[in-house]
Symmetry: C2
Subunit: 317 residues, 2 copies
Amino acid sequence: MLSKASKVSGVICVLSGGVGAARLLRALSGEVAPSTLTAIVNVGDDLVLHGLTICPDLDTITYTLAGLNNETLGWGLEGETWRVMAELRELGGEAWFGLGDRDLATHLYRSQRLSEGATKAEVTRELCARWGVAVQLLPVSNEPVTTSFTTEIGPLSFQEYFVKHHHGVKVDEIHVSGADASPAPGVLEALRDSSRIVLAPSNPLISLAPLLRVRGVAAAVAQRRDDVIAVSPIVAGAAIKGPADRLLQEFGYDVSCVGVAQYVLDTFGDMVGTWIIDEADAAHVPALEALGVAVRVTTTMMNEPLRAQALAREVLA
Amino acid sequence: MLSKASKVSGVICVLSGGVGAARLLRALSGEVAPSTLTAIVNVGDDLVLHGLTICPDLDTITYTLAGLNNETLGWGLEGETWRVMAELRELGGEAWFGLGDRDLATHLYRSQRLSEGATKAEVTRELCARWGVAVQLLPVSNEPVTTSFTTEIGPLSFQEYFVKHHHGVKVDEIHVSGADASPAPGVLEALRDSSRIVLAPSNPLISLAPLLRVRGVAAAVAQRRDDVIAVSPIVAGAAIKGPADRLLQEFGYDVSCVGVAQYVLDTFGDMVGTWIIDEADAAHVPALEALGVAVRVTTTMMNEPLRAQALAREVLA
């Protein structure tokens, strides 16, 4: 365990997808002042459904940091009810994307504010203020960035792939439209001025890559290469959650922390200075170091508070 | 009471606003086969709120004919709950327009179908089929027709005036944008081919006028002048519901069935052959007849089933 004194000081910038990032941010919030944390959040799996603009990654992080996340489900809000969804199913509506009654209020709020001219970043700030979330959440862009797939069963939107088909079909191509979007105000500045940039243990192909494709973001990260630390989302040959393992394999990479590092290197160049991998993957240290990066080994599972704390401290070391 | 034999046969076309029209259509459904009734419904108070397309008049009629309307509230669905609204209020969202959890499912369904390219008429047909409503409901147009107001407190949208300010502010001007919209498929044909056209006891200034302003509708009604029968929404100097009385006064008309008839005459010409007025207004018969129209006197209040039935039979006579 590290003492507080050995921690990096200044603003920590975390490139974030959904659940893995949310847990890491929650753990980091226990180690440093939350207001010194900036999360730059993927919007590539945002969707418009039923007329509502839904931002799953932003919401997962906000709910988790507000202590309102549903631990049983692993997504959505605690104490959730499902009246609207049940009625929508009765009407024969699109009911495959679960939207609880509490959760719906978030989407109604956001959709109305967007229609009034507010940006996603402004809405995010309002929701965070309402829920007392002190971590600064920045959507990577206020403009639409949309990840979609060519799969063995045809073209699918992100959530059709992820939720409707339970990421259980083979992906041939990943598309990111709107990748030339402008970064939201503050994103490039946060990357430039932070003392450390962290790649959360989020899916590298479909959460972090769309985020990194936003104009100027990958270059801003690469410029800080020695201060960039990444947490592998693959532990002992499997994704902690979601289809990262399956997708790595489908795109020709080893399903290991080495495969993840190689994917990032091939896709975005030499932007990561240090990889944090799980103890279960200690045998991979030489192969990783051969890629020219520093490696730290710790527990990366965040299913228990003490493990999450250990990972957070390693990230801050 | 009239015998069944004396009723008009063929299709009855009812120009419809919200609650008054819904009650008349329900009463008419008890007297003739519902499938012979066509309601041409105002869309001028439709709104987009929270990203959702809401059609209050269509919904009021559909819910009422499905037997699902909330008699206690006078609007919305029976057995309604309010979880989403309560949460939205917590978030500081726009909560002045009450949307119950069951009701929201309708708006989610409609908004999604519209985003997929369906028309309002198609969505209406789908919802009616789902709820077993046999009356043919036709939105007067599939295109946006938007009623708004210049008031003593500034410009207001329809629902800001009607719901947020409880129609309690002085209106200086009524605007209908999109009034050159195309009528929905079937609207002009229904007006041409029906055996009788009924103007429901809806607000003449803000429910029927926006409907009649859609391209070709007023002319199609006027062509059938002798088969057009209108029910006065003003009884004994007051509106049965809503601001018709107040608006008539603000626009310089008598608050009476005579004022209503005069307003229609001034605005749309000689399109009504017969006015049905309440027994309470029998003294107005000479003044109405002086406008060149036939008059029938009956009960026009529909707060009891037998009264509604009597009115329906008069409409069909």
